[in-house]
Symmetry: C2
Subunit: 119 residues, 2 copies
Amino acid sequence: MNLKEKFKDINTYFSPKVIGEVNDVYVKAVSIKGDKVPWHTHEKEDELFYIVEGSLLFEIENEESFTMNPGDLFIVKKGISHRVSSQKECKIMLIEQKTTAHTGTVDTEITKSIQQQLY
Amino acid sequence: MNLKEKFKDINTYFSPKVIGEVNDVYVKAVSIKGDKVPWHTHEKEDELFYIVEGSLLFEIENEESFTMNPGDLFIVKKGISHRVSSQKECKIMLIEQKTTAHTGTVDTEITKSIQQQLY
């Protein structure tokens, strides 16, 4: 599959979709626009962000924020509170443990269950 | 980190380097040119290929071969014999279990231990 092409199927913001499986890990595609992702933590799971299109503001508790651009890759380690947002549409590939909850233990209007993330 | 930039550190073909860690998974960058990768199988591990630059010929036992281009992503499932090659330089990101042996149980001149794949 072509990663950019895959995003043609993704029509809802903040709604990750599982596009692949590597043993205990899901590969997900998610498109976001705006700042609806709450501050949250994954206590036991690292999470990889890879930017496919657009720019992503990455905020990490007690650290300086930074902007990710296409081709940029960042792994937020377990237990680190973080939040992502983008003014314009941003397309992201995520690599996550299958157990990773979308917005950690924080439940908001955008929060999707793993079931909702499967096609 | 920017994935393309990361390849500036990778000066040897067929020598995967670990560039990130997501729980039990390694993210690796590898550059190849030629057909030195032997047919091999990972009995217990799926393996994700993502093409950063160049083209990759992907061969799978008893299936039709196909060519991967930049932005293409393919997951070869555990137990499936496969081989990759490229006439020109091809830059690849791999997502693999930490336990995944470079060329499965086949040992060749290019085979690297996990230790050799760490910076």
